[in-house]
């Protein structure tokens, strides 16, 4: 996967990486997101492979932390490939990328709150209704 993105990313990442070289690299602004078809096909293939992997997690009935961590890893890799390459976020300016990608991370704060809330609800249900229905 690193190779797949590296091909297309190469020259752009070079520019982004060195702020002090910026004036020299101003030559062309990427108004158009035009990349080789091969890049899309490689990402497509990787999405198939990763989806198959996550399906196999269920097929082989893996359980517990191994299952959850594998599901999350495959999910994040797939989401990253779609956003970075298919949606061209890897080539957008950082001002846009951070404006779009950082806010959803705040959902994790909400998630933490709801984990505590759900635990508390379960506790009260068990305490007041017992283990029956």
């Amino acid at each position: 996967m690193a190779e797949a993105t590296a091909n297309g990313l190469g020259q752009h990442a070079l520019h982004a990486g060195h702020a002090h070289e910026a004036p020299a690299a101003v030559a062309h602004a990427d108004q158009h997101q035009e990349h080789p078809i091969k890049l899309y096909l490689v990402v497509w293939a990787w999405l198939f492979i990763l989806s198959t992997c996550s399906y196999l997690v269920d097929y082989f009935g893996l359980q517990g932390y191994l299952r959850w961590s594998l599901i999350l890893i495959f999910m994040i890799l797939k989401a990253g490939l779609i956003v970075a390459v298919f949606m061209h976020m890897a080539w957008e300016r950082l001002a846009l990328a951070y404006a779009i990608i950082l806010p959803p991370i705040l959902v994790l704060v909400f998630t933490t709150m709801m984990v505590f809330e759900a635990d508390y609800t379960l506790f009260t249900r068990l305490a007041f209704f017992g283990s029956g229905h």
Binding site: H12, H15, A16, G17, A19, A22, V26, A29, D30, H32, Q33, E34, I37, Y40, V43, W44, L47, F48, S51, S54, Y55, D58, Y59, G61, R67, I71, F74, M75, K78, A79, I82, V83, F86, M87, H88, E92, R93, L94, A95, L96, Y98, A99, I100, P103, P104, V107, F110, T111, M114, V115, E117, A118, D119, T121, L122, R125, L126, F129, S131, H133
Partner: protein, 239 residues
């Protein structure tokens, strides 16, 4: 790296990296330098949609964590009987591959659009729409199967009552997004086929001329639908 587009069309060099972020946001000017308003607005819409689906998945998590009744096993609920044996989750796996394939064809459509290859762009967009419609069809099949088996928003034969409401809410909203996407794909494909973006024909609703970037913006929406499915697949079907 990128250039500033000032109101008089003059271009100036911009800093990149963290300095670039601060400079872009702190000045009285366009924040997203080389991004058209159409693309920026689509991204902002997708950001808000992210929160909608984020809240759905969160409510599902809360319901599943707080119930005393065991959660139905998705692996068994969504199994299909093929050739005499139950294959777990097979329909969902096929739906995943169909949607990923549609994302691939969409990415290529946007690419051919920038190369001014109208024929290939339109055909790939229609192929994307066809794959999307296939996905919705399979989802309709899945809903029918579950409803005949007795799944309702208020209960189901296998366990926690919240399973049904979470399932219908999350997959229903996602299916609606796919359906809207299919409709928009057909509309934009028609524009490409007719050559609207070359002849400068004005849109019916907007009275504005379009550009081939519209195909890429359409693609952003479509890839987002695929992206949401990645999360639904992981959290609802596999967890």
């Amino acid at each position: 790296m990128a250039e500033t587009l000032t109101h008089i069309g003059k271009t100036e060099p911009r800093p990149s990296g963290w300095q670039g972020i601060a400079a872009d946001w702190s000045s009285d000017q366009r924040a997203f330098k080389n991004v058209s308003w159409g693309k920026a607005m689509m991204w902002i819409f997708l950001l808000s949609d992210t929160f909608i689906f984020g809240c759905f998945l969160l409510s599902y998590m809360t319901a599943r964590m707080s119930t005393r009744v065991p959660w139905p096993n998705p692996s068994e609920v969504f199994a299909l009987r093929i050739g005499g044996s139950d294959i777990p989750l097979i329909l969902i796996a096929i739906m995943t591959f169909v949607l990923i394939s549609s994302s691939g064809t969409m990415a290529m459509a946007a690419n051919f659009g920038y190369r001014r290859d109208r024929r290939k762009t339109a055909i790939l967009m229609l192929l994307t729409a066809a794959l999307g419609a296939t996905f919705v069809g399979m989802q309709a099949f899945e809903w029918t199967k579950l409803i005949t088996e007795g799944v309702r928003p208020w209960g189901n034969p296998w366990g926690a009552a919240q399973f049904g409401s979470s399932f219908f809410m999350i997959t229903g909203f996602h299916g609606t997004h796919v359906t809207i996407g299919v409709i928009f794909l057909i509309i934009v494909a028609r524009k490409v086929w007719r050559g609207d973006f070359d002849t400068g024909r004005r849109g019916f609703f907007t009275s504005r001329t379009g550009r081939y970037e519209n195909v890429e913006i359409m693609g952003l929406y479509w890839h987002f639908v695929d992206l949401v499915w990645v999360f639904i697949f992981a959290f609802f079907y596999l967890w």
